[in-house]
Amino acid sequence: MSGTHEQRDDRGGEDGTVHDLAAAYALDAVDDVERTQFEAHLADCAACRRTVAELSEAVVGLSEGLEEQPPPGMRQRVLTAVAEEAPRTAPQRTAPDDQTSAGAQAPGGELTHLGQRRAARHGRWWLAAAAAAVVAVGSVVATQWGRDEPGSTVAVQEVLEAEDAQRSTETVNGSTVHVVRSMALQRTVLVAEEMPEPPQGQDYQLWFVHDDGTAVSAGLMPKDGDDRTEVVLQGDPAGAVAVGVTLEPEGGSQQPTSEPIVAVPLEG
């Protein structure tokens, strides 16, 4: 049994039960896969929630006595960055079908968690991005893309250098995502900079988002380990008003199973 992920096995055995992971989880000593699994378990197990809450306070003690003053310039940099983001993260109007995800509640720093925890904000945001974009470009995009013939291979570079290239950019969590499309070439390219590798067993999946909030897969982001990834979006972009990125189980999903990490509006 050792060496495998046996968290779903509640019967015990050499490596114990799923509940035994509570302390390692509280200490942040589990890998991404186990963290995801255990957070799913936490949702159903009050005993483990209690244990994690208690032991987390013990973990807090582990950084007591290590205090160090950061360099003085950092404060202004952080406050400036926050002020720049403020309009986007300020409370927004709630979209009609806004729903609060029951994502994991424990604190987390990775995009997995970011994706889940931004649910409340970004569920709205995804739709808001789509709605704002459709006002500007809806009918134009529909007719332009309507005669698209999927499947022809256009090099990334051609799209990036196209005379009619339109660029939109969003930043999230230190990563930058550009979407560039050319009406003439009928192609869209996504360029991701400084995106962390997806957690083990997961892929970044790209989506064309439509004005009603539905998403159609545009393929997976290649895992090339580079700081900069360029990919031509697949599928039929007709009517799309934004490009979204979610974390999905390896190989991708038919429909998004997590909230978007980022959504880049396609602007007219």
């Binding site: 582990l62 950084s63 006595g65 205090e67 160090e68 950061p70 509640q105 409340a120 230190g174």
Partner: protein, 188 residues
């Protein structure tokens, strides 16, 4: 900051930050940065990288404040978990390559327990452990320090110490329970 009053204030501030209150964010930053920066420096052992990570952590605080759930623990615990995960991510991505290269050689030349024996023998970090960590048994302490300060998963700790997974989980659990008792007993 660890007093009861300080704990309550941090929770209130996080809720205000979730509403987009930048002044509350600044106050939260001032109250907590030395703690976050100290932990991140300890894990990364590199001040320049620790600065970057600390800045990223506070941007996450701004973005994720509405995910804080007081039922799951204190605001400080939430913050330090954000910081720890981010620091460990950095350690793992930075070390991945050199570790792979060093792994073979290290297995050839060093007994597995070498790197932890220092810890077991009680080489104290400056300023650290003026408190409950002393109360841990050496094996509990080794497991917890390897995991928390070096960013190893419990599986990696088991490998490093050459003990079964169950043993490591038990040491971590018992160690944290003991720490928890010490902290409760010693709280002002």
């Amino acid at each position: 900051m660890t007093s009861h009053q300080g704990t309550a204030e941090l929770a209130v501030l996080v809720r205000a930050v979730a509403e987009g209150d930048q002044d509350a964010f600044a106050r939260f930053y001032d109250l907590t940065t030395p703690r976050v920066f100290g932990l991140v420096v300890r894990v990364l052992r590199d001040r320049a990288q620790a600065e970057e990570v600390t800045q990223e952590v506070y941007l996450q605080v701004w973005r994720l404040a509405d995910s804080y759930d007081a039922d799951r623990g204190s605001a400080l615990a939430w913050l330090l978990t954000l910081a720890h995960r981010r620091a460990v991510d950095r350690v793992r991505s930075a070390q991945a390559q050199s570790d792979r290269e060093a792994a073979y050689e290290s297995r050839q030349t060093q007994p597995a327990f070498d790197s932890t024996s220092e810890i077991v023998q009680g080489r104290l970090e400056a300023g650290l452990l003026q408190m409950a960590v002393h109360e841990l048994s050496p094996v509990q302490r080794a497991a917890i320090e390897l995991a928390y300060y070096q960013g190893l998963t419990y599986r990696e700790v088991a490998e490093r110490l050459d003990v079964p997974l169950g043993t490591v989980k038990t040491r971590i659990r018992d160690g944290l329970i003991r720490l928890r008792r010490e902290l409760e007993g010693g709280a002002p």
